[in-house]
Every structure is written in C-alpha cells, then in structure tokens.
Amino acid sequence: MDKVSPLLVVNNLGHVFSNRGREVRVFEGCSFEIDPAQFVAVQGASGSGKTTLLLACGGMLAPSLGGIRFQGSDLFSLSSTQRTQMRAIAIGYLFQTLELVPYLDLTSNVRIATGVSKTVANQWLGRLGLGDRVRSYPGELSHGQRQRVALARAIAHKPALVIADEPTGNLDKRNSELVFGVLREYAQDGGAVLMATHETSAVTFTDLVIDIENLDLTRAKDR
C-alpha cells in the first residue's frame, strides 16, 4: 500500500525565548509527522510550550530551531502573505484566548473563516449544541459555549488541518466529550487535527499523543 504523504512534518523543532536578557528554552528536538485523517494530542504541564508549538505549526510564530513543512512547503520560507493565504485555506485555528469578535453574532463570528456560508456556519453551531443561540453575541454566552463557537469557526471552512489550543479548557465532562467527538469525526472524514490539551480523557479519542516535556510519542495502538 502507498504511504500517505504527511500533511505536517515537524523536524527537530526548538524554541528559545529571551526573558530579561536570559535565554529560556521552551522545548527542543521536537519531531513528529501528522498524516491526513490523524488526530494528534499534545500534552504537557503549563509552560511546557504547547501553545508555542501550536503557533509555530500554524505559521504564526517562527521557531528558533528546526523547520516545519506543511503540505510539502517549508512554512517559514514562504512570505508572510503566502503563509497567511495558506493558513486561511488549509488551517483552522482555535486560539486559547478564543478571539471571538464581541460585536458580531455567533453566525457572523463563524463566517469570518474563508468562504463559509450562513447555512454551514449555523449547521456547525447546531452540531456543537448552539443551534438555538446563533443570533446571540459572545458576551451572552458562558466561556464553555464561547469555546465551542471558536471550534465551529476553526472547522467550518473544512481546513486540511485543525489546530486547537485547549479546546475543552472550561468545559464539563459531557461537553468535553462532545468536542473531542467532533474533532474525532473531523479526523475520520479526512481532516487532520493537532490539539493541545490537559485532559487525560482525550487520549481515548486521539491517534497519537505527544508528551512535549519528554518528547515522547505514544501511538494509540501502543496504549
């Protein structure tokens, strides 16, 4: 059987911050690949560099060391405009800070993503249990509900890769499983998912878990 060419290749990645003139190494020597239809979780303690790794994979933070190839292109050899265009089409990003626009209703927030129609936006909101709140504004929702809106926005334009930074940070068990289930289904439909999470229950939904502190890759079949 032909090997599927990987969607994302992270090669020997490392990042160093400068804090008051002192170098702080967040992580280094991080390598992994994500194939289409694969659901990957990144785990590690707070401050271990999960968000930094995800931002680098999304082309929003140039790493200090190593390289990232996405769909065959070296992400950081592209111009900023090319990277933005690529991200707009092929990457859906759920920020830890959510970044919803407070004065747009939920449908309009989801429609910010490339080429998403009103119907598709509302379908995703419905799928995530917010079908009766589509005309609401983010300020009228709980944090957990806002997280689900941000997830709908990251997924609605069917990107090749969804990057989700703590998508269940403030959700109860039932809603966390709803979100993991949606991401699992997304991967089964052919989309790749890279997710940072603290939740140990996430491992039952994912194909691969990366422990960023020990740079240990655990495949689902090994668990």
């Binding site: 929003m60 933005t84 991200r87 990003y93 970044e99 747009l104």
Partner: protein, 288 residues
C-alpha cells in the same frame, strides 16, 4: 479657566440672541418668498449632501488606512525592517498626513483660487469640457462644465469637507482595536472582509460624525465657492452666498435672516448628531 469658558459660551449665546433680535418673522417671510433664496436653500441642501457623501466615500478608506499604518501592530512589523525603510515609511506617512491636512489650514480663498487655476490647466479644461458633455447627454444642458457651474459648488465644498471627514475617520479607526481584524485575517478573512465585517460596524458613530461634520462644513463654505463657482443667482448661489449678496447690496436684514437659516440648519444637524452618537464608546455624543 472656567471663567473664560463661560465667557466664550456667553459670546456664542449673545451672538445668536443678537441675530434673532435683529430680524423678525416678516423679514424671514419676505426672504423665503423670494424664489432665488428658495433656490439657494435647495442648492445648499443638495450640494452639501452630495459633498458629504463624496467626503465619506474618500474618508472611510483613507482614514482606515492612515490609522492602521500608524497602529502599534504596524510599528511592531516595521521593527523587523531596516532602519532606513522605517524612516522612509514614517516619512511618507507623515507627508501624506500633512498633505491631507492642507485644505484645513489653507485660507478658504486660496482653496478657491487653487481650484480655479487647476481648471485652467489643459487637463482641467479637458475635464471641464467632458463634464459639460456628460451633463448635456444626461439632459442637463444648462450645466456646461465644472467652473462657475453647480459641480464647482460641490467640488469646492468637497475639497475642504473631505479633509475634516478624513481626520474624523482616522481618529475613529485609531480608537478601534485592530486585534480582531488581524485575528480575522489569520483565520481566513480577506482584508476587505476584516474591514467591512469587523472595523466598519464599530466605526458607525464616527461615520455619522464625519458625515455631519462634512455636511456642516460644506454648508458654511463660502470662500472657495465665491472664487471657483461664483455667485450667480439661480445658478450657483448657496445660502452662504445669499448672506454675502444681501450684505453686499445693503440688505442687512436679509443677510441676517439668511444667516439665521444657516444657524438653524447647523443647530438641527449638530443636535441630531449628538442624539445619534449618544452612548457606546463615543464619549456620549462627542464628535471625535
């Protein structure tokens, strides 16, 4: 400090009271019965509205671009460029900013003379002629071009009003956080979508303020109109020129009555603007 403020307030009220006491209803009535004055009122209302719309059309995108070029995120992005590029960029930005403020600081007569001279150049004459042809083809053969015709009134008003509208829109967009726009672009929105879906709805109070300011500024415009459009009655006469013509011919009561119409229109527009822009982040109706 507050004493001088009270004094200035008293001066404004005293001027208005003096105007109202100087004239009476019969003066106003006789002025309004004059078809030429009614024409000037209509021309004022129409030309000011067109000039204000044109001003907004220019001011919204220009104000947005100027505000974003000076934003903190742009400064951070420029930080990655060479020092020479940063200097060139900032120099060009300040130069454009200064150019756009020129109509504000120039004496109004100079704006009028500059427009008149511009339309004496080959390009200006060509444009003048083509405009006349366009109006003729549309069935308005009476408008023979731009200079000393109604388009000159609108152009003169627009030239000054647009500068004020741009300044207002730039201030408005500077007060709007650009982070949601940048996030939207990161998530796949085009720059136009980020502008139209995210920045523009936030700026509506500023847009109302810019429109009002442009409209009110156009209403009070006199110098450029006098030079560039002339004061032909039933042709290019607007309310400000009605005041001038009445004064010129010794009809002080008529001039004051026409002034009161201008004052009334200006007050109505200012009150409406304050009512519309009340609330939100607009500092309770203050025109930014």
């Amino acid at each position: 400090m507050s004493f001088f403020g009270v004094f200035y307030l008293a001066l404004i009220i005293a001027m208005l009271v003096a105007d109202f006491r100087f004239t009476n209803w019969s003066d106003m009535s006789s002025l309004l019965s004059d078809a030429r004055v009614r024409f000037s009122i209509w021309l004022s209302l129409i030309s000011c509205t067109i000039a204000a719309i044109l001003s907004l059309w220019v001011a919204i995108p220009t104000g947005f671009v100027l505000a974003r070029l000076g934003s903190e995120s742009m400064t951070q992005r420029l930080g990655q460029r060479s020092r020479g590029f940063r200097r060139l960029f900032n120099g060009a930005r300040y130069f454009i900013d200064t150019l756009l403020d020129i109509p504000i600081v120039l004496p109004p007569l100079v704006v009028g003379i500059s427009l008149l001279v511009l339309f004496q150049t080959p390009v200006g004459r060509w444009l003048d002629q083509r405009t006349g042809e366009v109006f003729a083809s549309l069935g308005y053969a009476g408008i023979r071009g731009i200079t000393y015709e109604i388009p000159a009134v609108i152009l003169a008003q627009f030239t000054v009003a647009a500068a004020f509208a741009i300044r207002t829109m730039r201030n408005t967009f500077e007060q709007i956080d650009d982070r949601p726009e940048r996030v939207a672009v990161t998530l796949g929105a085009s720059h136009y979508q980020a502008f139209s879906m995210i920045a523009l709805p936030q700026a509506w109070r500023g847009i109302v303020a810019a429109f009002t300011l442009a409209w009110a500024r156009s209403l009070g415009e006199f110098g450029p109109i006098l030079i560039f459009a002339g004061t032909a009655r039933m042709k290019t006469e607007v309310l400000s020129t009605t005041v001038y013509l009445n004064f010129q011919f010794g009809n002080l009561r008529g001039a004051v009555s026409a002034s009161l119409i201008l004052v009334t229109l200006a007050i109505v527009v200012l009150i409406l603007t304050r009512l519309i822009t009340l609330g939100g982040n607009s500092k309770k109706g203050v025109i930014v």
